[in-house]
Symmetry: C3
């Protein structure tokens, strides 16, 4: 029995290799934008299609586009807080359905572009509500706010299209600010926690704990979904890794840069520990380093610059909006990413048209092919 | 004597019918945009022309365009307060004359487009002045503010033209905020009442009076002209009815929606009773339901959505601007109407190009003609 | 010896005339935009070129473009405060170098367009720092802020190009506000003076000193560079005079108009004495009266209107931003000048395309030539 013929061994190793290749290829099928899924889904029922659109929408928040990542992120949210998970799910469904009813472009709907703003609005409404979990009246503003996101997305895209800019999370940022202003802190129906600006708590008199600061870096990625627990944050990071390793690395890098920026102007320690200092940096870094621009060392430097700018702008906006009890949400990262997309000069050469943006790895590949094609063409024209 | 021949009876009834037809047709001549008046006015004196331009301007505030409605509204304002009426008249004349001097497009001037912002600025300067009526020094900022509106109208139209958007009351909103900021509350020359945000007065401890709330709905239409009395408000509503019944209905509907929105987030009762909660909803509803879009049941639903959004945005902005003692004016309705005009999808199909916007009834008729023409054309091409 | 032949006398007078003509012509070479210098500099070393770009940038702040004026202004700044002079120099060098590294358009860089925002940011950081002169840590935010100006300049120019608008000092205004917000008043590393709004100090109980008010008018020109001393301010005015007498006159006129506007709404006296009331008026007046529009009596009237609007808008914005401890910088003049450039009607006829803007005197000359050419052309077509 211990004696196997060479052929048998070879056969076994071949089958194992073939298995691992099959596993790898099926794993590869699950990474990136999973465009092949779209064809597969075409003749499925509406409910199933809606689920995929929704899951794509979940990942759009973190600049990814992959239904499996979306499922992982949603699981992380339910893990952190079932109530928040429910709110997020409701938000994404309501806004996607509103987009369908309002006759928005079907490619946009199926790409999940009409879901992520609604989801974020719902999550943040839950976070700022001081009425506790399972306060069912909250579902009213959640539905209204999510539906309104579609109005803003559609209207803003008409304006921003002129410069080939994405609408990004502008609708979320506008709606959540308006909601918080509308209800106010002492509202009898929808009470809220006030947002505390990072500089308002007086000088930091406790010593900085290095471990907590480092722990804040992955939390910065989780805070993009308003999630402050380490486990779910790591799961969210894993979901990004599944979509694109490059994006995940930039997320962590940006969060670290944001923490560094926070340290340099002495923000309050809680803000560093909770990851709130990092998440704008993470978003700013991810948007430039790979997503909207082809990855290169030059883009990488710009991504770091973008992370710094986003982080500092976030501190400034938090101090400004904090004077009226409002949070700065992701205004900073959204504005800085928009600015970066408008830049002329050496960065503009790496810009990918908004319609063709996909996973960073795919962008890299398609650009090298395109460059090769261009060269071949040029050569043939030369001859 | 009691015996009349059949012929006599028929004759009498015929003459009565012809009379009523003549009355009706001359009444119809007074409704809508009264474009036939323009031809009639061409060879009249400048003062008479200026009067018509001004009266058209008065109605532009409430999204109408009819000199007779303008005369009614002006009468309502003089009824409510002669001083306010005077300020309004001065504002509209100064801004229209400034536009003439600055060489603005004559079609815009004669359509009253350069008058309504100046009128609103003047009215609001009067409302916020705490120096009492007949404080003649106030005419200085009134003239300056009205003239400045023309600068803003002209400059903003260059920007907004790119998206075929109307300038609407943006100039008024900007100028009045700047004026209030510029003088401040304790100014020795131009003292003011501070604006009180709706949520600042603490919880409502009195019981809500239903009659007062219902009374606030027509007041909401009057508040568009900063008029808080019931009689003049009804006269203003009548003036809108003369221009277009559809517009008047949407005005009342929008005001009701605004009151409902105010109730849902528990704004202070005074704000409901005075109609201040309703007027942004009214404007938002009127702009969508008939004016900038052809009327249909779908547009009607969007108009109601627009009224809700305007009302909630107004509450939010009043809470925000109230922290620095400023009023929210009609920022909310103006922004939401602009957003609605930018929407893609099913609403965009009903959009009327800004240059062709007329009374809702006229829009409906011209669209059906145009659609019929299109069909006929298509048939002829098919054959 | 006392007897000179007529020929000798003539000879001497001729040589004197020739000398004065040569002096005059070489003086004329130093006025205006000094475009001939660019050809001369082409083959010089990078350091020398950078110096000229920087000096051009210094004058761009005050809407001029002349390296000699730049040297005079820089001397004035070092005279007023060597530390401020050093900060300004560093700011202009860092932002110009950043623009070179980021691959910005070389014509823009060599025209000094990437330097002036960085310089202003650095100067204002120094003015608002309460850590005293020679606080070397301040160089960190100075470098970072100056470099960020290039990002904003490049991004905003992509947007504003659509309307052929200049980016002007928008980047400076944005960055300095963000910096002040980011650090806050009690920052342990970068402490600041808070900005005091002009109306906050209570009623003016001292009598107004006319001499001080008049002294504030030339100070208003100096305040464009955050310089509050009379001597350096006059030197700066002299530098503008060297570039273009028309611009200098409009600067003084605008500052006077700004002071008048300040008097009319009773701003606090210190604001009038220090020239802070005048500098936005000066900038607004200079931009319209000659720079972006061909000079004429009509443009001149618009320039005065622009000065009034800038001054009033500045008071309004100072009151608004002062509530959160922020200065209004030159937001008012920048916004009003942008508005004026967007105007349609009779002013638009005098507008000079942004790419062809030069010294007012040059604009006048080239317009008359162009008009003459047009006429000649028209005549030839007529025949």
């Amino acid at each position: 029995m211990w004696m196997e013929t060479k052929a048998e061994v070879e056969e076994a190793s071949r089958s194992r290799a073939s298995l691992s290749r099959r596993v790898l290829s099926s794993l590869l099928l699950c990474t990136g934008d999973m465009m092949h899924l779209n064809e597969y889904m075409q003749d499925k029922s509406f409910v199933l299609q809606l689920a995929v659109w929704g899951l794509r929408g979940v990942t759009r928040v973190i600049l990814a586009n992959n239904p499996l990542s979306g499922a992982l992120i949603l699981a992380a949210l339910y893990w952190a807080s079932p109530w928040q998970g429910l709110l997020g799910t409701l938000g994404i469904l309501v806004s996607t359905l509103t987009a369908v009813v309002m006759g928005q472009d079907s490619a946009e709907v199926s790409g999940g572009l009409h879901g992520f703003n609604g989801m974020l609005v719902s999550l943040l409404m839950g976070v700022f509500s001081s009425a506790g979990d399972w306060y069912w009246w909250l579902l009213l503003p959640v539905c209204l706010g999510s539906a309104t996101c579609v109005f803003l997305f559609s209207g803003l895209s008409s304006v921003l299209d002129r410069w080939d800019l994405p609408v990004a999370v502008f609708p979320f940022n506008i709606i959540i600010i308006l909601y918080l202003l509308c209800t106010g802190q002492d509202n009898p129906y929808f009470p809220q926690y006030p947002a505390v600006p990072p500089g308002v708590l007086g000088p930091n008199d406790t010593k900085l704990v290095a471990v907590e600061v480092i722990r804040g870096i992955p939390l910065g990625v989780g805070q993009i979904f308003a999630c402050g627990a380490l486990g779910p944050s790591l799961l969210i990071l894993g979901a990004v890794l599944l979509y694109s390793p490059l994006l995940a690395i930039h997320g962590l890098l940006g969060s670290a840069v944001g923490t560094l920026a926070g340290l340099s102007v002495a923000v309050c320690h809680d803000s560093l520990y909770s990851g709130l200092s990092g998440f704008n940096g993470a978003l700013g870094c991810m948007a430039i380093g790979g997503l909207f621009f082809t990855f290169s060392w030059r883009t990488h430097l710009f991504a770091i610059a973008s992370a710094f700018l986003s982080a500092y702008a976030d501190i400034a906006l938090r101090n400004l909006l904090g004077t009226v009890g409002l949070p700065a949400c992701s205004w900073a990262a959204t504005l800085i990413a928009t600015l970066m997309l408008l830049l002329t000069g050496s960065l503009a050469a790496y810009r990918i048209p908004i319609g063709q943006v996909m996973a960073p790895e795919h962008n890299l590949r398609s650009r090298s092919q395109w460059a090769a094609g261009n060269n071949a063409e040029q050569e043939s024209t030369d001859v």
